[in-house]
Amino acid sequence: MLAAASLTDVLTTVAREVERAEPGVTVALSFGASSTLVRQVAEGAPADILVTADEVSMARAVDAGTVRAPIRIASNVLEIAVPKGNPARVRSVADLARHGVSVAVCQAQVPCGSAATRLFARAEVTVRAVTQEADVRGVLTKVRLGEVDAGVVYATDVRAAAGAVEGVPVPEALRVVVRTSAAILTRPEDRALAEDFLARLTSAPGRVAFDAAGFGPA
């Protein structure tokens, strides 16, 4: 299974549950930027399921003919992550544009990057990020290490790194929502197993895991 970096924790949890419930089945997970995964699938990466952070990436995979019939499995919103103690006292999206505040974002090519661009446009601010990371976990790491004053990540990333980073929620009016989508590859390695896993993701146990991780309803 190839999955967006933002799903690292929740899918690892679900995968362990599946492995416990069905002896003999091992779920191999590979996490990265959704755009990278879409390219890897197009280049013939051996996988069964593709999970992207947003629907734009999934649409590209559908257009390329590498996956079929994607479904929404959850939603996510952007949030500002700051290092413990919030050294630069970031309280709002506008604070990210303040002089002397170093900000990490994702590259514009990946879902969290394009979502951040939309967020800044909505808040009408010009943010000069110091780095554009390859995926959302790269941004989170830079915040965790305290190398930047703030990073634009998903609400679920802040929750996953609770204790190491603090979250500054984005007000309702500026909210940028991305929809996590999953699809089975056109030529999966094991279709039955893939369908089984996808069913589990969308059913009650999967839902519990996604809710616990802070994802919103599909």
Binding site: A33, S35, T36, R39, S102, A104, Q107, Q109, V110, A129, V130, T131, Q132, E133, A134, K142, L145, G146, E147, V148
Partner: protein
């Protein structure tokens, strides 16, 4: 066996052992050549030649190229300034501790660059061992700056120079230095007028290797310096990003790096391979 027969046998023996390559070796050798060359050939075959001029004129490409040339050159200059003295110390000191020191300073040669990047963050990052006092004293931060790229490239590339120059210094030995000293030359003068000229070919080779390695650096740079166009996004980083959005541009940039690498190898003309066989 008649003498002629012996000669024939000897001739046959020498032909098979020294001139003709046994088929047993030829097949894997050809496979090796294919493995090494096919990807490069593919890069050239698949390169969007007609679109190249347009792609290479894109501002982001020019930015990345300029940044790469600048940082690789500065890294090489720093490596020469610091690495040549280090090579001298390693080559001329007989203490046993030097052996350990040598293994440690060339560690970046075998260390995964990403690990190097993490280590650099922990040392020179805003909360790093040295980075934290530096930041609180001067407000300077190295990560996410062009200086950070230079630091990452120097970390990864300097060992190439050190190893090359140290090998040369070792193999020329100390006889010439001693002769110069006998004739009354000071130690610095000996270094400048005798030792360095003798190892000049290796110095050049080391510098070229160091420069090429710095130019291609990816892992430590992206980890320590992040990726931002014009400031820290060097060509290898731009290639990785372009692969996501504009694969043609990625191939075009890759061809540029390939050409540069080939040029460096041509300039070295085998000097690298003959390391340690410095003229006496």
């Amino acid at each position: 066996m008649s003498p002629a027969g012996r000669r024939r046998a000897a001739g046959r023996w020498s032909r098979t052992s020294t001139t003709a390559t046994p088929a047993l070796l030829l097949a894997p050798a050809l496979l090796a050549v294919g493995l090494l060359l096919l990807p490069l050939v593919a890069l050239l075959v698949k390169a969007p030649w007609s679109a190249m001029p347009r792609l290479l004129r894109e501002p982001v490409v020019g930015q990345a190229l300029r940044l790469s040339l600048l940082t690789a050159t500065v890294s090489t200059a720093i490596s020469l300034l610091l690495g040549v003295p280090l090579a001298w110390v390693l080559a001329r000191t007989t203490s046993r501790a030097v052996g350990l020191l040598r293994s440690l300073v060339v560690l970046p040669l075998v260390l995964p660059p990403v690990v190097g990047g993490v280590a650099l963050l922990l040392a020179f990052g805003r909360r790093g061992l040295l980075g934290a006092p530096l930041h609180s004293a001067t407000g300077l931060t190295l990560p996410f700056s062009t200086a950070g790229v230079v630091l990452a490239e120097t970390f990864v590339a300097m060992p190439f120079l050190v190893v090359t120059v140290e090998g040369a210094l070792r193999s020329v030995g100390t006889a010439l230095d001693e002769a110069a000293a006998t004739l009354g030359a000071s130690r610095l003068r000996t270094l400048r007028r005798v030792t360095l000229p003798v190892v000049a070919p290796s110095l050049l080779a080391g510098a070229a290797l160091c420069w090429a390695r710095a130019l291609g650096e990816f892992g430590a740079t992206v980890t320590f310096a992040g990726s931002f166009p014009g400031r820290t996004q060097t060509v290898p980083l731009a290639v990785a990003i372009a692969l996501e959005s504009d694969p043609e541009a990625a191939v075009a940039l890759s061809v540029v790096l390939l050409v540069v690498s080939v040029a460096v190898l041509l300039a070295l003309r085998g000097r690298w391979v003959s390391l340690g066989r410095v003229p006496r």
